[in-house]
Amino acid sequence: MKKIIVLAVLMLSSVIVNAQSAEVRGLEIAKAAEKADLGFGSSIVELKMILKNKNGQTSERSLTTKTLELTEDGDKSLIVFESPKDVKGTATLTFTHKFGADDQWLFLPSIKRVKRISSNNKSGPFVGSEFAYEDLSSQEVEKYTYRFLEEKGDLLIVEQDPVDPKSGYTRRVITYNKDKGYRIEKAEFYDRKNALLKTLTYSDYKIYKNKFWRAGTFHMVNHQSNKETILHFNNYNFDASLTEADFTQAALQRAGK
């Protein structure tokens, strides 16, 4: 009887240890992925977005994104729309924070107005696409809790639960490629009812500066609405040496003028 109890205690503790290690390992993987991408400094990339509705009709947007890497706090980014032409020059400036709400400003070129906007709306679609704001914002380790699920060859699969209750997801399941700088191959998003909502696949990867993996194509499929969004990234530039001065309200106005 004693043996059984000892065995049971042992088994239970090993379950606890396993559970702990799944969390620890998940976090370790997320940190390793962050570390692998550390030191890119800044980047500029042109983006073409193709929105497909359930009947296959498409519409397009093009934009340019500038990113400044910051280590103590979250990254800064500046997004400028090139098309459709009626929104050309519309631009957003975002200061991501590791903890708490991000700071965000919007520039409206027709009346030259800069507006501070609420970053509360995380789950809403970005310009009518299948990407939510939270899918495109800077991915800080602190914004999720982690659970390692499984290892398949080079692939590490980790469940990530958003810390922010305003997130549109209960969890996302991320597939990292350990051998390729922990780049992400696939992300699955589960809605608030824990039903599979969207799948994002990354492809056409290229390595820049021998270290930074960047996907040329993001393909997001919404399984519930049958709509899709494809992002094509062109001309990644890691040599622009952007500074804080390129991420100010004055820079926001210049970007959209």
């Binding site: 397009e60 459709p84 501070r116 906007i117 609420s118 009518g128 004055a250 210049r254």
Partner: protein
């Protein structure tokens, strides 16, 4: 106008030549917007000569040239409007300026548009540009302002904006056939200046703004010829109007907290003939992604106070504004803005609806309606507009 343009060309030409001589990687960009518009005024005109149907056409070409990785540029936007009302038929250079930027500073020389402020129903603090009155009812369309603007951004103490404004541009007013006018048609050339230097009074302005966490704050001061003419009425009912020399101090503040935006704009204006205080304060709350499909519904409310009382040109002396902004966040960017302003001391009310949607990738359709309701006869300015409720349809094509 001649002297004005000469000076402008010289300033422009010089700065452009100086910098262009060290050019590298020049990029050009040309855009064109064509607008077909039809305004229909529901009620018969209050004054002789006013029309009811206003088909109209507008053209807005835009050209930008930049070099030196965008650190230097020339930006130009022109605007042309043809309308039934001769005074609404007008053209303007909205922008034509040279820009140079280096590290944390920026210099702009030429005609430019600058916007200050945070509130939605009224724009008190915004003073750099003259309003293009005939172009829109909400006062958001502006004439290009000649300026030298110097901007310095610091990491710790905010952004400093310095303006030298050498030339004043007079406000335009509707002509005989136009709506939104007084019984007497105002000829803009008949409105004189307080300053002997007239339009060449040398004006200066300054604005500092910064943000601290959830707070965005701006402090500004303007010295020079005011953008709003001062109307004085004599015993025989004749209007005597002029542009006074003013000092205006402004404060704008926004607190962004979760889905709430708390907003405040306030000014104190001081002139020989007039001293007054005005304030707009309110909030905006947005219910976002209500249906899981991107539908956002924002609710807005603002209180408007103007010490000028009945003489306030925009007739917003002690009023409350309620509004709702509905954005579908669909691929066509469909949005609707509903609003109503009600006077707290009388029955006067103005309701409005604005909606827009893109068709294909280059067309945008917009509808706007404004309804004047229960306008009291003793409203000094608004009573002239009581029969000016209108409906507007606009189709724009972008190239």
């Amino acid at each position: 106008m001649n002297r004005f343009s000469t000076v402008l060309y010289i300033v422009f030409g010089l700065s452009a030549i100086v910098s262009f001589s060290q050019e590298s990687n020049v990029t050009h960009d040309f855009e064109l917007e064509l607008g077909l518009e039809y305004r229909y005024f529901i009620d018969h005109a209050q004054f002789m000569g006013q029309k009811q149907h206003f088909p109209s056409f507008s053209l807005q070409p835009k050209y930008a040239l930049d070099w030196n990785d965008g650190a230097e540029s020339i930006n130009a936007t022109a605007f042309f409007r043809w309308d039934v009302d001769d005074s609404r038929t007008h053209w303007d250079i909205r922008e034509l300026y040279f820009q140079k930027t280096k590290n944390n500073w920026e210099l702009n020389v030429g005609l430019k548009k600058v916007y200050w402020g945070v509130t939605e129903s009224n724009h008190l603090v915004d003073i750099i540009n003259q309003t293009d009155v005939v172009e829109s009812f909400d006062g958001e369309q502006k004439l290009g302002q000649p300026m030298v603007q110097f901007v310095v951004t610091t990491n710790t103490v905010g952004t400093f904006n310095f303006f030298y404004l050498p030339y004043h541009r007079k406000r335009n007013f509707p002509g005989e056939k136009g709506r939104f006018r007084f019984p007497v048609v105002i000829d803009r050339d008949e409105i004189l200046y307080e300053s002997r230097a007239q339009e060449w009074h040398q004006d200066f302005a300054f604005r500092w703004f910064h943000y601290f966490g959830a707070f965005d704050v701006g402090l500004s001061h303007f010295y020079g010829t005011g953008r709003e003419p001062l109307f004085m009425f004599d015993n025989t009912g004749n209007i005597n109007a002029f542009y006074p020399v003013i000092n205006q101090t402004g404060l704008d503040l926004q607190v962004t907290h979760n889905a709430f935006l708390w907003k405040l704009e306030s000014i104190y204006r001081n002139a020989e003939a007039q001293d007054f205080f005005a304030l707009t304060a309110g909030l905006e709350f947005t219910f976002s992604n209500i249906d899981g499909n991107g539908l956002d519904i924002g609710l807005l409310s603002e209180y408007l106070y103007d010490e000028r009382d009945a003489l306030a040109l925009n007739a917003l002396q002690n009023d409350v504004f309620f509004g709702s902004r509905i954005a579908f966040n669909d691929t066509q960017d469909t949005s609707i803005l509903l609003g109503g302003i009600t006077d707290l001391e009388s029955s006067s009310k103005i309701f409005s609806i604005e909606a827009s949607r893109r068709f294909g990738s280059n067309w945008v359709a917009e509808v706007e309606a404004r309804v004047f309701s229960g306008i009291e006869a003793n409203e000094f300015i608004l009573s002239n507009f009581r029969d000016d409720s209108f409906f507007r349809l606009r189709i724009s094509r972008f190239f």
